[in-house]
Symmetry: C2
Subunit: 518 residues, 2 copies
């Protein structure tokens, strides 16, 4: 157990929530309390005894509060090993006495950042004394108890009461860990903020800090535990997510939602779009005059795959649309808004998750973890520039074909590589996803298109996420009636591929943009 | 510019590399130097003037070096705004003078961690004074210059010389950012170490810290910039990667390598295995008596997809195997070892990347970033327990079929969902990957198997990463001659599915383990 009696406590808190409870407990156990500026006043006002820090150190609080606790009398008290005779002699000589309990919480830097405080305010909200004390006490956890969050008070009180004024070693180690998690998080937020102002996307050392949002029922599979963390100081696509009804969101729900919302945003249309995602791949997307039409088109593009999928609308969901959606089974509906009447209808499907989401800015970097390494890269946010398209065939795409090619390109970007997307009238007809060669992707896209659109596929267009290494994949598309193709180009066999397109009198456009997604 | 003249510098460094250069520069500009214990001796031995910190603060270095710099005279000197009259008055009254330059590097906590130092040593290597000073100086970057790494000396000297003894505001802000990146990284390493000892997989606050390893040519696509970071204190599959020859590794190379090595490890065989990965999916895997045989089987299982792929061997690559590999085009060969003669042969393929890799332990958590959120979960490391397999059909799998089912299960785990893998004699015959419905995955696996194994497929076995929601996917497999199936089970239509298997007199085994991979 290695119990250590708490005789002296130092309290310096920015957030004064529930402080009274702890003060009562300390009083009951005859603990002497020292405190800084605002906390001192607060404690005195509550009617407890307390020594002001400047009286204790015989050194004034100066520099507008920047200098209060950075004093040997404080840090010596927190850092001394009280089972070490030399330490004891030294502190005695220096007139330092041991501080057994530290209660600190830090200036609310992140809160101010979220409130968009100005630069000066943010700088003043970088706590210096607080982290130094937390770190001293945590390092010396064998002897010092360190509390870094108001939500720890309840357990601290239990601990002190159950050990009659002492704390146990296990407890002190646990809260010391929490203190370092706190200082690491705190400096990560500060450093990322400062670094965002330097033109340095890839600094030599980087930290990513998250706050636990929820422990999920399980991860990608039931035998994997999982949790969701939020990077508070960032603002991204899923930031303003609001679950209105339905079962708890699962790990795979989050993956699919993120994919669906990313595609919706990327379709970048003033009209109404509907995106259906299954296993992190789109299986049906459409743009139309209203959301009901868009939904019907998206769902019809592959109703077998859409079953149990995640749907994202760029607009509101009304009564009629809700009725239509309820005819089949989905996991999640995401929309800008749900009308009251639509919510009444959805109430009959209690498990169906409804998410309203106002899109934020897209964060610019993406992270990919490979065990003990991670890759950081720009997100694939490039937009197609119509003026930079390079028509490489004799036949030019018509205006209508061009519109569909752009739609196909925008969807294709989010399909796992190798990807082929066949579209017509801003509706996906067939998607070939995740194949290890391009011929297979083409064949799969054709198979899927023929399944539900054997007639309509004639006169369709297609996008490929990377170049055709040979003409064979293209030939498959030509065979079923695809009349225009968009692809990055850049293969050593481009000539052969263009020749095949010319032979079939179809149009081919080079985007010069590859969109692998692994 | 807002130049600030450096009159007084404080030096306290654990790593004394290149300190002499900076001391010369400070001497040239008549800067007064204060220093702590070891640094003080080092500076005096080099023949430079220096004041010892205890003489400066009139306070002794005590507690075995734990308490040296945590003193108002130091922190007041670092924190005072020297354009603020009140600050100036206050420090004058307290007999504090401004310190304009701080050079600190921290106790080598991470180095000691990697050296597996004992707990006491690690605790003593948690620097308290250093981070406190770095943070004070960095907060006050408007007036104070802070140096946190020896590799910054060269630029510091240039800065001081070009401004005749001063530094500019831009420079000070840049190095202040570096200082906070440093303290954040430092505490992240400490907190993760401490937290790994608590039974707390998902703490309330979490930080992930990486060191830049290399800036990559580009990311997943050419329009995306990217870098590779290493989590030094972790040890995982790619830790001991050693590139022997070939072009620079790309972003997608890393993704594919990680997948290939994970599958190799997971096949968990004493025999020789070969895994070929393309676009993050396996396209051919085999186990055999020697690596040459395993390679031929893996490559033959889908030579079209294997072209340009990443190959991973669990054993060494010799001359004969090298000859065989050189007949076709690959991006990367990963092996435990390459014989000298094999390296001679590979020299003719200068671009081919050769990687030797001694596998480490697998890290237990995986991270998935979705913009401003990230998901943390256990890795999917579950092993199939032969004794827990549930035979649900009348016919039982033979011993040979069972061996193949396990092989199929192990590969299937790494195929993007929905996944179906057909195997025979520990060779993959057909892989259906990344489909949005299970019927399509089955069809694709069958199409791929029939392409190269129209005869051999009769008598094969198959694995499915999740249950069959209907019998239709199963029927496709039965049609081409699959005789045994492994799948998790758990569908409401299990009865129908089992009935279909019994009707065809094939064996079906429930693993009760789902292996989605998105």
């Amino acid at each position: 157990m290695q119990l250590i009696k708490i005789k002296k406590a130092l309290i310096s808190v920015s957030d004064k929530t529930n402080l009274e409870n702890i003060l009562k407990c300390l009083k009951d156990h005859k603990v002497e309390v020292i405190s800084t500026g605002g906390s001192y006043k607060f404690i005195k006002d509550l009617g407890f005894k307390c020594t002001e820090i400047s009286e204790y150190t015989k050194f004034p609080e100066i520099l507008d509060g920047r200098l209060k606790t950075l004093h040997p009398k404080i840090h010596g008290g927190l850092l001394a090993k009280i089972n070490d005779e030399n330490h004891l002699k030294q502190i005695k000589k220096a007139n330092i006495s041991s501080i057994n309990l530290l209660i600190v919480n830090l200036y609310p830097f992140e809160k101010k950042l979220l409130e968009k405080a100005n630069f000066e305010t943010l700088i003043e909200n970088i706590d210096i004394g607080g982290p130094a004390m937390l770190r001293s006490a945590a390092k010396n956890f064998k002897f010092t108890t360190v509390i870094s969050q108001p939500n720890q008070y309840e357990n601290l009180i239990k601990e002190i009461r159950s050990h009659k004024g002492s704390t146990s070693l296990n407890y002190r180690k646990k809260v010391a860990t929490d203190a370092f998690l706190e200082t690491a998080y705190y400096d990560s937020v500060i450093s990322n903020w400062l670094n965002s102002q330097q033109n340095n996307k890839f600094p030599k050392k980087i930290t990513i800090a998250g706050q636990l949002q929820s422990q999920l029922r399980y991860g990608e599979n039931p035998h994997q535990q999982a949790s969701l963390y939020k990077i508070n100081y960032k603002k991204d696509l899923l930031t303003n997510l609001n679950q209105i009804q339905g079962k708890e969101l699962s790990y795979n729900n989050y993956l699919d939602m993120y994919a669906a919302v990313s595609i919706s945003k990327n379709l970048n249309t003033n009209k109404n779009s509907c995106v259906i995602v299954k296993h992190n791949n789109p299986c049906g997307c459409a743009i139309s005059d209203n959301s009901l039409k868009a939904y019907k088109l998206a769902n019809n593009s592959d109703p077998i795959s859409a079953f149990g999928g995640v749907i994202s609308f760029n607009n509101e969901v009304d009564e009629k649309l809700a009725d239509e959606i309820c005819k089949t089974f989905y996991e999640i509906i995401i929309a800008k808004k749900f009308t009251k009447k639509s919510l009444e209808i959805f109430k009959n499907k209690k498990n169906l998750r409804l998410i309203s989401l106002s899109n934020n800015q897209e964060d610019k970097l993406s992270y990919n973890f490979l065990g003990d390494n991670f890759l950081v890269q720009d997100k694939d946010l490039i937009n197609l520039n119509k003026n930079k398209l390079q028509i490489v065939t004799k036949r030019k795409p018509s205006a209508k074909e061009l519109k569909d090619l752009i739609f196909a390109f925008n969807v294709c970007k989010f399909v796992k590589s190798n990807a082929i997307v066949i579209t017509k009238n801003e509706q996906t007809l067939g998607i070939g996803a995740g194949q290890t060669n391009r011929l297979s992707s083409s064949q799969m896209a054709c198979t899927n298109a023929l399944k539900f659109f054997s007639k309509e596929v004639n006169g369709s267009v297609a996008a490929s996420d990377a170049f055709f290494p040979f003409a064979d994949g293209l030939d498959e598309l030509i065979k079923i009636g695809v009349k225009a193709i968009i692809q990055p180009g850049g293969s050593i066999k481009d000539k052969e591929v263009i020749a095949a397109a010319n032979k079939a009198n179809i149009a081919m456009v080079f985007s010069n943009i590859r969109n692998f997604r692994h």
